[in-house]
């Protein structure tokens, strides 16, 4: 169960469990947390619970709502977030709400009641049906402690040029004779893609499996010669 820890100037004033689908705070007595502070609006903000998400939403307050020091309109709460309204702080505690470790088993739930959520101020038309990016934040770039690699063209198409291998895959050669260099957490690998001739590393043709590259390896893809190095 998620909770909010209310504090001011470092002293804890109370703990509140987010048991309601719509949990509000503001100056009004009807709010779930009443905060008597001139810097807080009557109905300052709400926290909506949708599935496993708890979404903080500012209700157009005069002085705004901060999360971890930044002004937000809507924000999916993460464990440890600190919400600031006026002089008060609300720390969000929910061990399950971690940005990168949210891989519970898949569950089926019914589509939720749109009419109810519409009233909560959702403002977008549901006809908007675009795909969304769900990859976890740490999947965006290859997490690697490995130094950045590059190749320099020795002969052929890329002679004299440096090509940085910063993306997860870099392709070389022509459609009928090609290879890729992949950037992985453990290092760089070259893999044969197409063509009768496999890439050659230090004079030796590689097989079908990804082949690990070492600093200063000489690579041949078709007629092109390249040197691999770590920066």
């Amino acid at each position: 169960m998620a909770k909010l820890v209310l504090s001011m100037n470092g002293s804890v004033l109370g703990n509140y469990f987010l048991e309601k689908e719509r949990f509000s705070f503001g100056r009004k007595p009807t709010c779930d947390i009443q905060i008597n502070d001139q810097g807080v609006s009557k109905e300052h903000a709400v926290i909506l619970t949708v599935g496993n998400d708890q979404i903080l939403e500012d209700l157009g307050s005069t002085n705004g709502t901060l999360v971890n020091g930044e002004k937000v309109q809507r924000h999916i709460l993460q464990n440890g977030d600190v919400i600031e309204v006026g002089r008060y702080k609300l720390r969000y505690v929910n061990a399950k709400a971690m940005p990168d470790m949210d891989f519970d088993k898949t569950l089926m739930i019914p589509a939720f009641d749109r009419t109810k959520l519409k009233q909560e101020g959702a403002d977008k038309d549901e006809a908007d049906t675009q795909g969304i990016a769900t990859a976890v934040a740490n999947a965006r770039n290859v997490k690697t402690i490995f130094p950045l690699g590059a190749v320099r063209g020795i002969s052929g198409d890329n002679t004299g040029q440096e090509i940085e291998l910063s993306r997860s895959i870099t392709a070389f050669g022509k459609p009928d004779n090609s290879a890729i260099i992949t950037r992985r957490p453990v290092g760089y690998f070259i893999t044969h893609v197409a063509g009768k001739k496999h890439p050659v590393v230090n004079g030796k043709a590689i097989g079908d499996d990804p082949f690990p590259l070492d600093n200063l390896d000489q690579i041949e893809v078709g007629p092109d010669k390249l040197q691999f190095y770590l920066k």
Partner: protein, 270 residues
């Protein structure tokens, strides 16, 4: 033109690095031009039963009906009907199994299926398994997830950028075997030579950014088996939190139903 010669199909499925079991199933039938991918859930190993039933039943249903050489005059949406019916049957069978055997209680599965026939690809899905397409320079997601996360974005509760930090990625709003009836999204697209279609379970797109999926499809157009292996590897390199399944289909040649006969799509568009 035999479908087998017009399409290159490859698939891979992997338990990932965290889960003990692989509850995904992938099945491809080159003669039918059918690829089905399912991501099972629920119970001790029962997810595997559900996804396996889905791929098997859908394959068998289509084999039976397409094999009869159904007359096209039944209507242009023959494939749509067949695929929808096959998925409906699979839903019923899984639902009954889940309700009649305690060890299967609560099982269900997503499904995404593609049927390549007469220069057209028919796409059906329920749940959050996806279909992407690379066509020339254009990369698109052709399915819209049936998930709480997708609904949250569509309702404007969160922005699509915020989807990455949502905790609802595991909540699907449609799945086979959970309710007596199932709403299946089906659409048709004209296939073009050079198109690459990619079916995947969320173990791929939750771990590998769309931009990297696109990059892999662009870089490895000429080797479809390598493409699927590479994507599974990338998902595992990024953590492999879930089962990972990938199937890719490349259209190498046109595949009209009757050679020498103007296909309906050619006729309709020229």
């Amino acid at each position: 033109m035999k479908l087998k010669n017009a399409l290159t199909i490859a698939s891979a499925t992997d338990a990932g690095l965290v889960r003990n079991f692989n509850e995904d199933s992938v099945a491809a039938n080159e003669d039918l031009g059918l690829v089905v991918l399912a991501d099972g859930m629920g119970g001790y190993k029962a997810g595997d039963v559900a996804s396996g039933m889905a791929t098997m039943i859908i394959g068998n249903e289509l084999k039976e009906h397409l094999g009869k050489g159904v007359d096209k005059s039944n209507g242009v949406d023959l494939e749509t009907e067949l695929l929808r019916t096959a998925i409906t049957r699979a839903n019923q069978a899984i639902y009954h199994a889940a309700h009649n055997k305690t060890q299967f209680q609560g099982m269900g599965t997503t499904v995404v299926a593609t049927l390549f026939r007469d220069n057209v690809v028919t796409i059906a899905h329920a749940g959050d398994s996806r279909l992407y397409r690379l066509r020339g320079g254009q990369f698109d997601q052709l399915t819209v997830d049936h998930s709480l996360l997708q609904e949250q974005v569509q309702l404007g509760l969160i922005s699509s950028e915020d989807a990455r930090v949502s905790h609802n990625r595991n909540l699907v709003t449609r799945a086979l075997g959970v309710t007596q009836t199932i709403a299946v999204d089906v659409r048709q697209e004209r296939a073009q030579v050079g198109d690459i279609y990619l079916l995947c379970s969320d173990g791929l797109n939750d771990m590998v950014d769309d931009a990297d999926i696109e990059l892999a499809m662009r870089s490895i157009r000429e080797n479809i088996p390598l493409l699927v292996r590479q994507l599974v590897m990338m998902a595992n390199d990024n953590g492999g939190h879930d089962n990972i399944s990938v199937a890719a289909i490349k259209v190498e040649k046109p595949f009209p139903l009757r050679a020498g006969f103007f296909s309906r799509w050619f006729g309709a568009h020229v």
